[in-house]
């Protein structure tokens, strides 16, 4: 079947999915508190941006903390 070429491995799918849902789509001003996995709560101000999976990994390892406010 052709469909075998589409990657359905769990890791790839989750990374791709998180990349989309956290970085793309319609941007709207908002106000929310988000925690990612075992990371402490990150307050993301008026404009919500949790920039990328890469950032999440940095946050997890405690190397980098950021939040973007409009």
């Amino acid at each position: 079947m052709h469909d075998n070429i589409i990657d359905r491995s769990k890791d790839v799918t989750i990374l791709e999915l998180l990349d989309r849902v956290l970085n793309k789509g319609v941007i709207l001003t908002g106000d929310i508190v988000i925690s990612v996995a075992d990371v402490d709560l990150i307050y993301l101000g008026v404009k919500l941006m949790l920039s990328s999976v890469e950032t999440m990994e940095k946050l997890k390892s405690g190397r980098y903390i950021t939040s973007e406010k409009a």
Binding site: H2, D3, I5, I6, D7, V12, T13, I14, E16, L17, L18, R20, V21, L22, N23, K24, G25, V26, I27, L28, T29, G30, D31, I32, V33, I34, S35, V36, A37, L41, L44, L48, L50, M56
Partner: protein, 251 residues
Amino acid sequence: MKLLIYAIVSVKDAPGTLNSLLTGMKGTSGMPLYSVPFNEVSVVVSNINSEGLNASQTDAIGYAGLIETLAQKFTLLPMRFGSVMGSTQEIADMLGKNMNEILRNLEKVEDKFEFGLKIFCDSEKVRAGLKAKSAASAKLIDKPAPEIKHSVYLDYVNQKLKEHRLEELLMAYVDSVIAEIKGTLARLNSIDKFRKTGAEKNIIDAVFLLDKNKKAELIKVVEGFKKQYPELDFILTGPWPPYSFIDITIK
């Protein structure tokens, strides 16, 4: 009571279907989903309690899953996770202010899915291949080199020059792969976005917006690329809702 927004959905063809689909569906934190209608679109939302949303990665994945379910049946604009508004009236105002942009984006993604293509290479191997090719072509136009005394500085400069040429060759190779893929995909009338990552392994990230019924053709095309470029790994993902093709920032 604040509202978490999932997607802006076109309901012009089936205004009643969305609500019946949402009945019984649960959103983030198990809250029921409902829609806020406005002209030809509806916004899918769930309530957030007054303490706000302590969202986890699992919530983000669930949120994306809901959007995917909706995208199977409707043309929609997925929201970035965590999009929150204060009330249904605020949502209606927002829709009224941005309706032209919303309709333009909905038209662009109508009956289309997004696919992702990541291209990986063993860059050392590809570099070695390019180096060998370059050396072979240099031999063909070989001229006797003028005698120059070697020095540490000259050797250093020569080494850097060689590295720079190799990087140029690698970039030219990546460009040629992108051109080839773009040319082939043009036959499928896809809208595409390519990004040269500059990374050692994941050299190209691409996304395509394609008619829903052209999935099989895309798969065939990528299979062809795999055969054409055995030194590269192709990872195709999708179909996704059209996250990467929305150019609208809601005011």
